[in-house]
Amino acid sequence: MTAGTLLDFLIITGLVWLAWQVVAGRELFRAIIMFIALGLAMAVAWARLGAPDLALAEAAIGAGLTGAMLLATYRRLLEHNPAKGGQRYARSSRLALPVAVMSSLLVMLLGLTLVNIMPVEGEVAGQQAIQLMQAVPMENPVTGVLLLWRGYDTLLEMSALVAAWLALRILQPQDAATLPPLSSSIPLLQALLAAAVPIAVLVGGYLLHAGGKAPGGAFQAGAVLAGAGVLLGLTGSLQRSTRASRLLRAGVVLGLIVFSVLGLGQLAFGQPAFAIPGLWTIYLVEGALTVSIALTLLLLFLGSAGVRRPAP
């Protein structure tokens, strides 16, 4: 057994064990921590499979943002009902076991089918895509495929984010009740913010720029920027607000609008919709997507339609 196989085995057993701990955990808090650990282990697994794009997205969104969201919800839960802290799980629904067994069987069948597929002779779609990519000035095939052949997917993902924000706007409590922010007078915390937020902005910009030739792109960049916003929100430097300013609303829909206008504009030139005419469009679209993704993820974390600066 080589060291690589051993590592794979460790990652796989770790993933299964962590997933089991998440659903069968004894306490709510423990389950949340296990979920975050599961996200990190998933990121390691993706990196090991040679998919750094997915690893970045999983670490930033799956472990980071979702974990922070779950922890914030847990704190909210304790405020409403302190007795829930450390409470054992009630037994889950009777459907849980059959659903879990059926899902595992399905995944196992899919896995077996994949293992049994013979390598296809001749040209396959992936090779054709890589060959066609030579014509486009894109060195990162992931961003290329996402924008060139999966334009509709990306567009629908953006629509889903905007729809989530709209739902948030409708469902948010009207009394503007905010989480009590951490005391902003903690000097070390301010020092961390002073270092972490500019670095996050730098990393986000780098990921956006690098998306054309290396792992990165709009979703990863947006998630990192939203992470900086979450830090600011948790320390009280950004406060929740029930009203979204005009600028904020424009930012939330910016990605959808820029992508749609550029994509449909191609029809006027006799091109198919969502054809990408050049590198500048890619940077334009990706930049607009980054702004919208970062803002929407931040607002979803805060659970409010808008943000404002704290009153001095």
């Binding site: 903690i186 070390l188 961390l192 270092a195 972490a196 670095i199």
Partner: protein, 97 residues
């Protein structure tokens, strides 16, 4: 070259030793403050040694500088989070700062 590789292996082994010690401390020490002490100190040194090993193994100044930034960021984050956890425990016991 062989001396360099030997140094890389030594640094990795010692670094992993620090991680192991920190983790055992986290699991076995009796109270919050000694656990924090074990975790932050041992892990920071462990990360430094592992980063140094990686920098030597890469034989590239650029990668070495990037790893230095990685270590500095982890240092900053673990310092602040350990401080916040300790502060929270301190306040929860009724002390006021």
């Amino acid at each position: 070259m062989i001396a360099l590789d030997l140094a890389v292996v030594m640094l990795l082994v010692v670094g992993c030793g620090f991680y192991l010690a920190g983790t055992i401390g986290l699991l076995r020490f009796p109270d919050l403050h000694s656990r924090l002490h074990a975790l932050t100190k041992a892990d920071n040194v462990g990360l430094m040694l592992v980063c140094a090993a990686m920098a030597l193994a890469s034989r590239s100044v650029r990668v070495a500088l990037l790893l230095l930034i990685v270590w500095a960021l982890a240092l900053l984050a673990s310092t602040v989070s350990a401080y916040l956890i300790a502060r929270h425990a301190h306040m929860a016991r009724g002390y006021r700062t």
